[in-house]
Symmetry: C2
Subunit: 381 residues, 2 copies
């Protein structure tokens, strides 16, 4: 009787949570279970207990790799391996009438559960495990490890550029062939793999005017004396955590305008990092960086050839997703609480000469921040 | 009036379809729009018309890269960029009361649409675009291109193994260090990137007893005179299509048992490919391969040390997903219709000596199949 009363007490203060996803694709699931998979499996949490339900194919690996404290069940332990039947038995076991699920929970399965009388309520976007925003020391280490791979990839990129020399029209040549964005990206990404990290789709190695579009990954020949943006954001294969790093370099000599823009962006990045601390307002940090760029002669606006200046957010949280809370954006007035890992990445983009972006990562603490990025910020190489 | 009547006629014979997903993550979306993205966007189809709705950040790239015939709209063309508002305006424009959506449509957004009076009905798993199972010539070319990258990666793996020689206890050494699964995998994956393909999480380079577990990616030292399984399945960065290839090699000399197992698996693979044709029953092809392995002295069963023999499906469809319909499994009695691209990958796994798997890809035609794999099947190297 006592234990039952205890159980009922828990029932009224805790929400039962449910995920069905692949460990490789759902940051919420990987956060909760620690078990990456290519295929979907079930996770449930209730009263501080966490469990996952695996098929016989995955059960041995699951028992070895799941996070401590996560109970690993085999679907053969249920009366049917069918997902809805398993969830029904879990609900009965927990005494739960329904589950909170992530916003991206699959609709087909949700409707099946609802038809079976189990209520499922989607959480707001990104708010299923709000504690994901605040990193433990062990998570910071994992992020730093992914960042080390990004630094190795970027160093390799710089080495490849240094092996090149300009030919006709300033086109860079290396080992007798034109050095393209594709070759540079391939060399950077191969280095990431050697460091246990998987390249993102979208590693940026963009030169000249392509660099003026922040999301342009770059294609075709690279040129001397123009800025080349390398934005490298790999994911650690062993942990699932991401690193994020951007450097912009010039092979040869920059024009005076580009050199001034580089200085302004570097100053804005350092200013942004200095403002990070518990209690700071992201929108104010963004505004300070934007104001600094404007004060150095690089205001943001729209001209005949489209937007120019600094027209994206100053940074974003990084963890098991490459973009997660908090955003360092003009719209985020929520004070930092400490424990966030964020990027600080001001940039300047001009259709006339290209783009410059410089990105570091930092861990927000009570009195400031701990910068996680170790590589320097080379310019003319 | 005439055009309106025409429209109403269409309305009763066509189903409106809706997707909200990221182009990089949803095979259905990439199939329909041709536009890969890291972030979510909306796709809708009605009466043979297809359209996508992009943010201003993606609109220029979308107009360049979306498939021919897909109308590209900017969310600024709607009264609000809010997703539910956009879908409501699309429904009004189509005269549709609701939408069929993929089974993995996000529940949070579905509930929002339902609250706004728009019905959303999930399709069965994998049946949103059933035509994805049957490939066009251009799709077969894209799959073959990804397979060429897999072959290049595998050739590189073989080259690396050939550069190694056995030291104490049979451990392979290369360039003065122990040759591990991690190094072999890294070299294979770097080669994939050089060929424009992204390695999967889970490229297998598993030696000795690890090869006895079909999903074990391999870790630690590799050994001479034991089978080493390389299962390489990259995705083309430019098209999103996958290739899939498995070879098993021995650096040195195989034991008589392993040599006999290799021959049996090779024969089963060739038998499986010979049976592929329009009208063939996948379950029968699987059974024929399993029977052949048993007749060669390698029956499937469970012993004291777990399962042994051939205990996975003979193959699976490949396209914009690495595993898609049709399965060549004991449970699939649906005749092939021609146009499918499938793997044929029998294997033998024994806790006593490891595993052997040999995998080719083929395009099913009316009278047989066109084998897409070009690389040979080396054994002792």
């Amino acid at each position: 009787m006592d234990s039952k009363r205890e159980f009922c007490k828990v029932k009224h203060t805790e929400i039962a949570k449910l995920i069905r996803a692949a460990g490789n694709r759902s940051a919420d699931l990987l956060y909760a279970s620690g078990f990456p998979t290519a295929d979907d499996y079930l996770f449930a949490e209730f009263g501080g207990k966490r469990l996952i339900v695996l098929s016989p194919l995955e059960i041995d690996r699951g028992r070895l790799e799941a996070a401590p404290g996560v109970e690993v069940l085999c679907d053969t332990e249920f009366s049917s391996a069918d997902g809805a039947a398993v969830v029904r038995e879990l609900a009965a076991r927990f005494g739960a009438e329904g589950f909170l699920v992530p916003a991206d929970f699959p609709l087909g399965f949700a409707d099946e559960l609802r038809r079976a009388g189990i209520s499922v309520t989607p959480a707001g976007e990104g708010s299923f495990f709000p504690e994901r925003e605040f990193k433990s020391e062990s998570e910071v280490e994992k992020i730093a490890e992914a960042l080390r791979a990004a630094e190795a990839g970027t160093r390799r990129g710089i080495e490849v550029l240094r092996e090149s020399s300009p030919g006709e029209g300033g086109v860079l040549f290396r080992r007798g062939e034109v050095l393209t964005s594709e070759i540079l990206r391939g060399e950077i990404e191969a280095e990431l793999l050697r460091h246990g990290a998987m390249p993102a789709e979208g590693t940026i190695a963009a030169g000249a005017l392509q660099g003026a579009q922040p999301h342009n990954a770059g294609s075709g020949p690279l040129y001397a004396d123009t800025p080349i943006v390398m934005d490298v954001f790999p994911r650690s294969v062993s942990t699932g955590y991401w690193g994020d790093l951007t450097r912009t370099v010039v092979r040869g000599c920059a024009s005076p305008t580009v050199a001034r823009a580089f200085e302004a962006v570097l100053e804005a990045r350092e200013l942004g990092k200095r403002m990070l601390r518990r209690g700071a307002i992201p929108a104010e940090i963004h505004a300070a960086a934007a104001d600094h760029l404007a004060s150095r002669g690089f205001p943001t606006g729209t001209g005949e050839r489209g937007r120019h200046g600094f027209f994206h957010g100053l940074g974003h949280g990084v963890g098991l997703e490459i973009h997660e809370a908090p955003r360092l954006s003009p719209r985020n007035a929520e004070p930092l609480r400490g424990g966030e890992v964020v990027t600080v990445e001001p940039g300047l983009y001009y259709p006339e000469w290209g783009g410059i972006r410089l990105e570091d990562m930092a861990y927000v603490t009570s009195g400031g921040c701990r910068v996680l990025t170790e590589i320097g910020t080379p310019f003319e190489i």
